[in-house]
Symmetry: C2
């Protein structure tokens, strides 16, 4: 791989760029971004080598599409229109059904691989790009059979170089389950942050009382609304389902407290403690 | 300080023991615990030097009471009955009003200092005890004026040696605010864990999809039900209030999603992003 194009030079795309440069000799990393400040920043941070446009895409060996999922759905067909027959295009968005549907009938569908690397931080932009973000992380690949065999191989080699493990899943199942293990966490964190800020806005000193437990549960409330609003929009049905179940569980907890049923509260917590085993191995 | 008695040799008491041993020469650390396995474990881990009973308390220079808050309220009067006039007794529980009320009229009230070190991890028991747990952490002291001046000094010297910063607060205010910045986080985390486990119980592989964001938001769901059930019980009114507000905010978020009002969702998240500034300085 010689010419790599990163479309969207933020945390996810930028971290790919940094890793690819370390692992592959003689590559040149091009950045495409609607935000020219991000391009300048990415160049000065040596995340990318230079700026490019869609007109340059016929030269691309690999295109990584790492922009908010609403924009990705619109841009991917244009990108597929612009590339050469041998170019591999990968997206990395947190929803998979809409993007797979958007290019289902595209003549270059076989140049595209739908992926979701389960990696990230609560930060964003080129300065958030870090090395080693993907090592030991899971990458979920959807509809692998719709990608040309040679391009599948190319992608798997890249993911292997980066230290990722692969799971295959259909887009429907991906979007349903990711709502539980990722999207719901973000909403619970944002609303926890909101609840505390609203209550404590006139008593800023109170945050002196907050410890690492609070910090851990509201960490995701630092996440980018530009990235997350389109994710919630695209995965609306699944996310609403998770929210309904979460609200039911919280309301049940409150009801148990109101009726002084602390034995049941104890059992609820005890039963949930085995999340310990489930979390083992997650960074 | 020569003879230190730790009542409840778990994460909190054990971590005090480890630090005190490092900072004070010639101290002897005694452990009192209803769980004899914890005593044995604490001795073998060198968290404490030896086992003791309430009968030994007249020899104590310092007693640290670090047991679940329901037991603390019952045991504190007995401990105050047993100590000498010069003994300092500190509790470290996550609720402050019930314990202050329990000894309000006790003849040895001036030997007691009510504190809440904002420090901990999601683990428990003697093996969870760690060095440096308290460095740079906040310790909230309630009703300081009710403690004998010399014993206040002794306590402040200890906290200073351990690197803690002190905040003074009345028990009512403590219990109200800590419900927001600590107790609610634990419930949100437990119920998030429950929601995901319930949904995914037949598809264990799905947890492969969980990343560090999920791990962060459900970390507190590993916490000990023995410790947390009595906290929720003692702080029932305040905790129910926080839960009601949290549920209202989550329901509002769901309603906005259902009515496709993603502009408002964007603004909600944007407004909550400034939790970044608030969290600065929290470990």
């Amino acid at each position: 791989m010689k010419n790599i194009y990163i479309i969207g030079v933020g945390l996810i795309g930028g971290s790919f760029a940094l890793e690819i440069k370390t692992k592959y000799q003689n590559t040149r990393i091009f950045g495409i971004d609607t935000n020219q400040d991000h391009i300048k920043e990415a160049i000065s941070l040596k995340v990318i080598d230079e700026s490019a446009t869609y007109g340059d895409l016929p030269q691309a060996d690999l295109v990584i599409l790492s922009i908010p999922v609403d924009a990705a759905v619109k841009e991917l067909p244009k990108i597929l229109n612009a590339i050469a027959d041998t170019t591999l295009v990968i997206d990395v968005g947190s929803t998979k059904k809409p993007i797979c549907e958007a290019v289902e009938l595209h003549p270059k569908r076989r140049n595209f691989l739908a992926t979701h690397p389960i990696a990230g931080t609560e930060f964003s932009g080129p300065k958030a790009a870090i090395r080693d973000l993907y090592r030991h992380k899971t990458n979920i690949i959807c509809e692998v059979e719709k990608t040309a065999f040679k391009l599948q191989e190319k992608a798997l080699r890249l993911f292997s170089e980066l230290g990722m493990r692969i799971r295959y899943m259909n887009p429907d199942a991906h979007d349903k389950h990711i709502a539980y293990v990722s999207h719901l966490s973000h909403i619970s964190s944002f609303m926890l942050g909101k609840t505390v800020i609203e209550k404590e806005k006139n008593e800023r000193d109170i945050f002196d009382m907050a410890g690492s437990g609070f910090a851990s549960t509201v960490r995701l409330a630092k996440s980018s609304p530009d990235m997350w609003t389109p994710i919630f929009k695209q995965n609306k049905t699944n996310v609403i389902e998770t929210l309904e179940e979460y609200i039911i569980n919280l309301t049940h907890f409150k009801d148990m407290m109101q009726s002084d049923d602390f034995e049941s509260i104890y059992n609820e917590m005890k039963n949930t403690n085995h999340i310990k085993d489930i979390l083992e191995g997650i960074a």
